[in-house]
């Protein structure tokens, strides 16, 4: 993360908690870039997170109000705070397992209600903190500590799930697309209503080393190869898209 973003980091913080090659540090920097470009008053920003690696992106690092909650429950905590004090710019930052598996019900209901929350989902396709177990976002066939023979299940297409639930703005990008991530977060924060930005974030430690992608470069390369824009994907045959990750803005109900 660039030094000029350190003004948003608490002075007590000395080091990143993330593993080498983790994409969450990149996302942390991009999120702060968006905050900086929007010139948000951090005294009026509330960051809410659940449990897991991604939940540590805001807590305790950001120099703002942070609410580090229970596993899966970031969105309902944020809903109560935002409903009572609508002046709080409320940004939920958490992981795929947290927001979409144990917290999946809260996610779709907040989208349906169109609660004015910015939800940023760091998707590393695995349970990182607990040791690399199968997630609802793990690609079919990928090895995890609880699917050593490869996951037999399909994974959720999170962005489309949240579009269907009624969100106002939904996008998916990868940390390998930094400018798009910043632009998407800025759009999400300035949109009134429920927004969902899924950010693919590599986890070489837990995902990569079980799937021949042990080095940080290998995971970054994989993401760059797999990501295809929603516009390009639209002109391809569906069969060609197997094993590709479609990125872009999936729904923009503000325009």
């Amino acid at each position: 993360m660039a030094r000029d973003m350190e003004k948003y980091i608490r002075p007590e913080i000395r080091a990143t908690p993330f593993c080498p090659g983790c994409g969450h540090g990149i996302l942390m920097g991009l999120l702060l870039r968006a905050v900086d470009e929007l010139e948000l008053d951090m005294d009026k920003v509330l960051f809410v997170s659940g449990i897991g690696c991604a939940a540590w992106i805001p807590s305790p690092h950001f120099k703002a109000d942070t609410l580090h909650t229970l596993h899966g429950r970031a969105i309902p905590f944020a809903t109560g705070a935002k409903a009572f004090n609508p002046e709080l710019t409320t940004i939920v930052v958490s992981g795929d397992g947290d927001l979409t598996s144990i917290g999946g019900n809260h996610l779709i209901h907040a989208a349906r209600r169109d609660t004015d929350l910015t939800v940023i989902c760091a998707n590393n396709m695995i349970y990182g903190m607990t040791g690399g177990q199968l997630a609802c976002t793990t690609p079919q066939g990928a090895a995890t500590s609880t699917s050593p023979g490869g996951s037999p299940y399909r994974s959720f297409d999170l962005a489309r799930l949240v579009v269907a639930a009624g969100a106002r703005y939904v996008a998916r990008f990868s940390v390998t697309q930094p400018l798009s991530v910043i632009a998407s977060i800025k759009k999400a924060v300035t949109t009134r209503g429920f927004t969902f930005t899924e950010v693919l974030s590599p986890c070489p430690t837990q995902y990569g080393r079980r799937n021949r992608l042990a080095s940080p470069e290998a995971m970054i390369r994989m993401l760059r190869q797999k990501c295809i824009s929603v516009e390009d994907a639209g002109i391809l045959e569906p069969g060609v898209l197997v094993d590709r990750i479609v990125t872009g803005v999936f729904f923009d109900g503000t325009s």
């Binding site: 935002k82 009572f84 209901h109």
Partner: protein, 382 residues
């Protein structure tokens, strides 16, 4: 509903209302302005009343997707500055247990009105019980304290809802009103006083929100949006909220303080009411609480009419437990009789502190313990 002052709070006077109405009015009078809830019999009436009352007084009502979301939203609202509550019943209460521990551990004042019904599981949703007494104290993992009131009348449904908010705010703890199916559907006359004392959150900008100099203190509570850069976490934390997931001393100090801040102030919380407890060598003391205590008072007075020296110690609060009061009662009698609409949850606590025989009287058929049944049972043991 009756006449209201400009503030929307019920004006002083006499009203005829249900227990549900009394809870809703008590909450409004206490300053509650956030409610998050999910429908569940027999507590839904409270939610419905608050949904419409908040439109008048400017509160924020959220019907959430389940009870887990309900209590989490209540805690979020509390940290955003609200006096906040939910109401639920057995199955919903069970779902709330993890977040109850979160509220206790982050010292978020919240009020939970638990309208007890016959359990376990779905049980008899429309029938009464007192089966959640131990759950509210021990249902979340780890050691924590709660304040729990046990009303026996519609009047107390009102008064104790106000008190629950006051205790929650004063001690930064979860506070319960342990009602029951009987209590919400009961209708009777209540008096709303002219002055309803309320307690507001103590503020001290810059002070540590999660520790005090004393090992049993209650820290001041800043809220979101005040520029305090609050760090709130359910992980073990130091005084300013930094995670200390590996430090044994920090964890021990925090858990001990969270318990001691309530236990060392138990004299300011615990309330009992004595009926016919004047003699020092009573044949029997009945220890009762909630609606059962009304039947117990009837039974005690009938037995006294036939010359028996029987007294009633009514527990108005269940947590923290009235240990000293029960111990004193045990010194003045050879037998304590504990009638309950459960399999003996409070009798366990009575037996722990009373140095005399403890006789249980349990009914778990979803019906209120009738005064005549209680009289018969009490006669048998004397």
């Amino acid at each position: 509903m009756g006449k209201e002052a400009d503030s929307g709070v019920l004006q002083a006077g006499t009203y005829y209302m249900s227990g549900s109405e009394a809870v809703a009015e008590g909450a409004v009078a206490a300053g509650c302005r956030y409610y998050g809830g999910y429908p569940i019999t027999p507590s839904s009436g409270i939610m419905e009343l608050i949904a419409s009352r908040f439109r008048e007084v400017g509160g924020v009502f959220m019907q959430m997707e389940d009870e887990i979301a309900s209590i989490c939203s209540v805690i979020g609202a509390s940290w955003a500055g609200a006096k906040a509550m939910t109401a639920t019943s057995g199955p919903g209460l069970s779902l709330m247990m993890e977040a109850l521990g979160y509220a206790a551990f982050t010292e978020a004042p919240i009020v939970i009105v638990d309208i007890q019904r016959a359990g376990p599981a779905t049980g008899q949703a429309t029938h009464t019980a007192s089966g959640d007494i131990m759950q509210v104290k021990w249902g979340s993992h780890g050691d924590y304290q709660v304040v729990a009131y046990s009303p026996w009348s519609v009047q107390e449904m009102f008064d104790m809802t106000v008190q629950a908010f006051n205790m929650a705010e004063r001690f930064r703890v979860p506070a319960f009103v342990m009602g029951s199916e009987t209590m919400v559907h009961l209708k009777e006359q209540i008096r709303v006083p002219r002055e309803i004392p309320t307690i507001e959150r103590r503020k001290k900008p810059g002070a540590a929100p999660f520790d005090t100099e004393e090992p049993d203190g209650v820290p001041p509570m800043p809220v979101f949006g005040e520029g305090e850069q609050l760090l709130v976490t359910g992980s073990t934390h130091d005084g300013y909220g930094f995670r200390k997931s590996d430090d044994p001393a920090v964890h021990e100090r925090l858990v001990e303080r969270l318990n001691l801040k309530v236990l060392h102030r138990r004299d300011d919380i615990v309330e009992v009411e004595s009926h016919h407890m004047e003699e020092h060598d009573l044949d029997c003391v009945v220890v009762a609480y909630g609606f059962t205590a009304r039947a117990a008072l009837f039974a005690v007075e009938r037995l006294r009419e036939s010359g028996r020296r029987v007294g009633l110690l009514r527990l108005k609060t269940l947590w923290p437990f009235a240990d000293k009061e029960v111990e004193m009662a045990g010194k003045r009698t050879r037998k304590i009789f504990v009638p309950e609409m459960n399999m003996g949850q409070v009798s366990i606590m009575v037996g722990r502190y009373a140095d005399c025989d403890v006789i249980t009287c349990n009914q778990v058929n979803g019906r209120t313990l009738s005064p005549l049944t209680l009289e018969d049972e009490l006669r048998k043991v004397i």
